[in-house]
Amino acid sequence: MSTPDTISQAESPETASKRVIIRTVGMKKIYHRGEETTYALRGVNVEIYTGEFIVVMGPSGSGKSTFFNMIGALDSPSEGRVFIDEVDVAQLTAEELAFLRCRKIGYIFQSYNLIQYMTALENVTTPMAFGGVSPDEARKRGMDLLELVGLKERWFHRPIEMSGGQQQRVAIARSLANNPGILLCDEPTANLDHHTGDEILAILQKLNKERGVTTICATHDHRMMNICDRLMWIRDGDIERIARRDEVEVEVGHIE
């Protein structure tokens, strides 16, 4: 079963005029283990527009992580195509993929994934170094980004000296190092307490509105639904439903 044509992409008048930044066409992921064949994704058709804030939800084993890997240029589909900024990801060489990940996509992970032996500033400037930015320019930009997330005074601290929320903020600053067009967030608030999670969400929302960075979040956190533009449910390797936030809230009281 693939994305039925009856499922609308939940377009609105605004989105209709925007560019598609990520497009998947008949994306499938099939695992062969001996005789068994497992379909992690069964033909997904999705269009994501620039500047959108999209939340992806789904139970464990639904193919949510596989979907994320595909659109984040971390994995390639068995069948079908993924276009990031109109470029077919499967056709790229290793160097081109590295370029993509470095400059076009920023990643935020559930467990922050900071390099433990680097300071906050070094963590933030590492993608810049990979992007060929000069050390002085990198340092300046790094400090600006740290200021953006409110950690300028802690630039020389190592991850082990910071709380979870602070680490995640450094991770956010790092993800913006090369001004990417896409931000991929994997459960950013899952390891954080309620209050800190609020702060992170506020930052993400601010970035999305002010910088126009397309933000795609996988989450179970209901608070995120308040700040997103569209919601996507995945179940059993299919997109179950895509809805705009206002469509969803119309169902008063609970979310389906």
């Binding site: 276009f83 590295a98 370029f99 470095c102 467990s111 390099i115 433990q116 993608p127 060929g132 994997d186």
Partner: protein
């Protein structure tokens, strides 16, 4: 719909930055790094130890060769003037002496041969030496099979018989790992010429026997040792008259040496004199029965004591002609030196063979130790890769190329290898140097092979780095191939 990415390929990070990242990585995992370095240090120390030891032994052997030869001068002459040279010695002389040398001329005279005859013998002698060397190097089992109970030139006699030769040839063919240094046919040809060569050797020996007999007739009852005391005088002339080659300097050294031996024997004989013994015991505060030769020699190293000893000898009616306190002191000191030379001679006997004179067995051990070291390093690095998979995957998400990841690990390995190599070279040098200093003492000071040892140290350091780098290749590849999606763990 497909747009080509305008990608300028990811620029390679400047080496300084890569080095910095690798260094910080090592600092962070200091304990693991220390263990790896320790492994390299042990392996390189072992290598450096055996290299240094062998180099020092070789240097010492070279520097004292002449002195050791001098040590045996008297023994050599006594042998020479008592019996004809054995076949092996003659063959060695024939093969190794330069043409027209006096030694060859002497041999020619003995055998009643001309210079050309002797010249003709030399290639045959060389072949003989090759054959002899082969049999001498065989282990006992193989030698029994190939040559029976015989040794040396008797083997040549044995193989004269056709049946024996067939047996030998077939046995040799069976031993596939053994290589005879000559073509079998060439050896056969040599064997056929052996009887003639043997006859000529016998002729020379016969001449030598005659000369010895003539000399003996002149000596009468006088023991040879005593006669040699006058070898720088009339006896020397007699020796020359008998056809022996005796240079004046040689004669003088020989006479000196004989006198020295004589005096040493006289001094050592005093231990049998109860009076002297008692006096020494009283001086040293021991029982007379505990007085030993080393004790007496130690005593004589001091001038005043030497004087005292001479007086003691005279008191007890012992002959002290020709002995002065100064002489005693000299003799005592020489004796210490002689003992060092004897130690050196014993210890440097087995140098040679294998790599850089290390010996085959040692070379094997060194190779095995380096293999173990390599496995240890590879293991440590693989552990490191496994621990850091998240870090590596994250770096790839940030845009690191595979080559970068690989270079990170390789640089770390090279760094560890460098430090380990230096540490190992130092440790090995100290170990070997210390042992050799204890063994050779004063002899080492004049002969220390600084240049060679420095080269060996350089080899150890470079080898340590290379070893570490090679061991790290597989783990680095594993790290580089890691998929970046490992960093994503969406539940």
């Amino acid at each position: 719909m497909m747009k080509k990415i305008d990608v300028q390929n990811q620029p390679v990070l400047p080496p300084r930055r890569v080095l910095q990242i690798a260094l910080t990585g090592v600092k962070y995992r200091l304990f693991r790094a220390t263990v790896t370095v320790a492994v390299i240090v042990v392996a390189m120390a072992f290598l450096m130890n055996i290299l240094t030891e062998s180099l020092i032994k070789r240097a010492v052997a070279d520097s004292v060769r002449e002195q050791i030869t001098d040590l045996h001068r008297v023994d050599r002459w006594i042998a020479r003037l008592s019996m004809p040279q054995p076949h092996e010695d003659l063959l060695a002389r024939l093969a190794e002496e330069t043409p027209d040398s006096e030694a060859l001329a002497e041999l020619a005279a003995r055998g009643g041969m001309s210079a050309e005859d002797i010249e003709a013998l030399r290639p045959k002698a060389r072949e003989a030496l090759i054959g002899l060397g082969f049999f001498a190097d065989l282990d006992y089992g193989r030698r029994r099979v190939l040559a029976g109970p015989d040794e040396s030139v008797r083997i040549f006699h044995r193989l004269q018989d056709d049946g024996a030769w067939q047996q030998f040839a077939s046995n040799l063919a069976d031993m596939k790992t053994l290589r005879f240094p000559m073509e079998p046919e060439a050896f056969r040809a040599f064997l056929r010429g052996w009887p003639e060569l043997n006859a000529q050797l016998e002729a020379i020996r016969g001449g030598q026997s005659e000369a010895i007999a003539a000399l003996r007739a002149q000596l009468g009852d006088t023991p040879l040792m005593e006669a040699l005391r006058g070898v720088d005088g009339p006896f020397g002339d007699a020796v020359r008259a008998a056809g022996f080659r005796l240079a004046p300097e040689e004669a003088e050294s020989l006479a000196d040496e004989v006198e020295r031996l004589d005096q040493v024997l006289r001094i050592e004989a005093t231990i049998n004199n109860p009076g002297v013994r008692q006096k020494v015991a009283a001086l040293r505060d021991v029982l007379p029965g505990d007085v030993t030769l080393p004790m007496i020699w130690a005593l004589l190293r001091d001038r005043e004591r030497a004087d005292w000893f001479l007086a003691a000898m005279r008191e007890n009616g012992l002959e002290t002609g020709g002995l002065t306190a100064e002489r005693l002191e000299d003799l005592a000191r020489q004796r210490a030196h002689t003992r060092l030379l004897q130690v050196a001679e014993r210890q440097t006997l087995e140098t040679g063979g294998g790599l850089l004179g290390i010996g085959k067995r040692m070379t094997w051990l060194a190779l095995v130790s380096m293999l173990v070291c390599a496995v240890g390093i590879a293991n440590a690095m693989l552990m490191s890769v496994t621990e850091r998979f998240r870090e590596i995957a994250t770096l790839k998400c940030l845009g690191a190329l595979d080559a970068f990841i690989m270079s990170m690990f390789l640089i770390e390995a090279c760094l560890l290898g460098l430090v380990g190599g230096i540490g190992g070279a130092l440790a090995g040098f100290l170990l070997a140097g210390g042992r050799m200093a204890l063994m050779f003492r004063a002899l080492l000071g004049q002969a220390f092979p600084w240049g060679d040892v420095a080269a060996a140290a350089g080899i150890s350091v470079v080898l340590g780095m290379v070893l570490a780098a090679v061991s790290a290749v597989y783990p680095s590849l594993r790290a580089a191939r890691l998929a970046p999606m490992e960093a994503m763990r969406i539940e």
